[in-house]
């Protein structure tokens, strides 16, 4: 249970650090509910602040349930068989990076054909950026798997990241998603800081 709690917290920590860094460098920050409403033309019943809180709670619920179920399909492959087998071949330090590269390349057709995550970069730039972010996330998920000795915590983090990604995207206003959250430069910075925190808390003990 402890590791599931930590796993659930990680995406929100990335979000919080990302918003803090954006504020520090003077990037425009808005309530994502207002942005989503403006983009989709949908209306919110209660005020945007309350809607944001409800939405954040619902992302946690989705992250713990349906999203974890689907993320488990990936995690059994990447952090399951691949991590265990690659660790015995190339060691624990390099393994998460190799898995991160494979993980990102596995997403490559979505980026190139559909503009997934990077609608302005349906090219090598989008793929390389996703390799960088997946390598960092892979390190976080690998640490979680090793410490918890279970596939569930990495799947919870993965599922919750997928659930909260839309909110992150609409919180920091950038012209090009390569600079913002969750998969741009800001995402890289926030995820790296989170990785350092997780590393200190979980591996240095």
């Amino acid at each position: 249970m402890k590791y599931i709690g930590i796993a659930l917290t990680i995406p929100y920590l990335i979000y919080l650090i990302g918003v803090s860094v954006a504020k520090a460098v003077d990037m425009p920050i808005v309530n994502p509910i207002v942005m989503i409403s403006a983009v989709t033309g949908s209306k919110y019943i209660v005020n945007p602040q309350v809607t944001l809180i409800i939405t954040l709670a619902s992302t946690a619920f989705a992250g713990l349930t349906i999203n974890t179920l689907f993320a488990l399909g990936e995690e059994i492959g990447w952090r399951g068989l691949l991590q265990d087998e690659l660790c015995s071949l190339i060691g624990f330090k390099v393994t998460p990076l190799v898995i991160g590269i494979l993980w990102a390349l596995w997403h490559a057709p979505l980026i190139i054909m559909y503009g997934y995550n990077y609608p302005h970069h349906r090219d090598a730039v989008g793929v390389v950026m996703f390799i960088i972010i997946c390598s960092i996330w892979s390190c976080i998920l690998s640490i979680l798997k090793v410490r918890s000795e279970s596939m569930i915590p990495p799947a919870v983090t993965h599922g919750t990241l997928n659930a909260i990604g839309g909110l992150m995207l609409y919180t920091i206003i950038v012209r090009d998603e390569i600079w913002g959250l969750p998969v741009g430069i800001l995402g890289v910075v926030a995820s790296t800081i989170t990785l350092i925190i997780i590393y200190i808390i979980m591996l240095k003990r």
């Binding site: 993320a71 399909g73 995690e75 492959g77 691949l82 087998e85 071949l89 596995w106 057709p109 559909y114």
Partner: protein, 64 residues
């Protein structure tokens, strides 16, 4: 079966199935899938590494 072969099997199966799914979706929607169809495709796609693990397990004799 060696670790290299297990890893290779899992990776090849996961990549082949995922890329094939993406290509089929691209063909039937001319590159512009409706959101629901794209999400269903992504949900199926997310289980391709698991299928890779199953096939690697069968090949190695370590059936899950």
């Amino acid at each position: 079966m060696s670790s290299v072969l297990k890893v290779a099997t899992c990776v090849v199966v996961a990549f082949s199935l995922a890329y094939m799914l993406d290509y089929i979706l691209y063909l039937i929607t001319a590159g512009k899938p409706p959101i629901l169809m794209f999400q269903i495709s992504c949900a199926i796609r997310m289980w391709t590494p698991f299928i890779g693990v199953i096939i690697a397990s069968f090949i190695s004799g370590n059936v899950l």
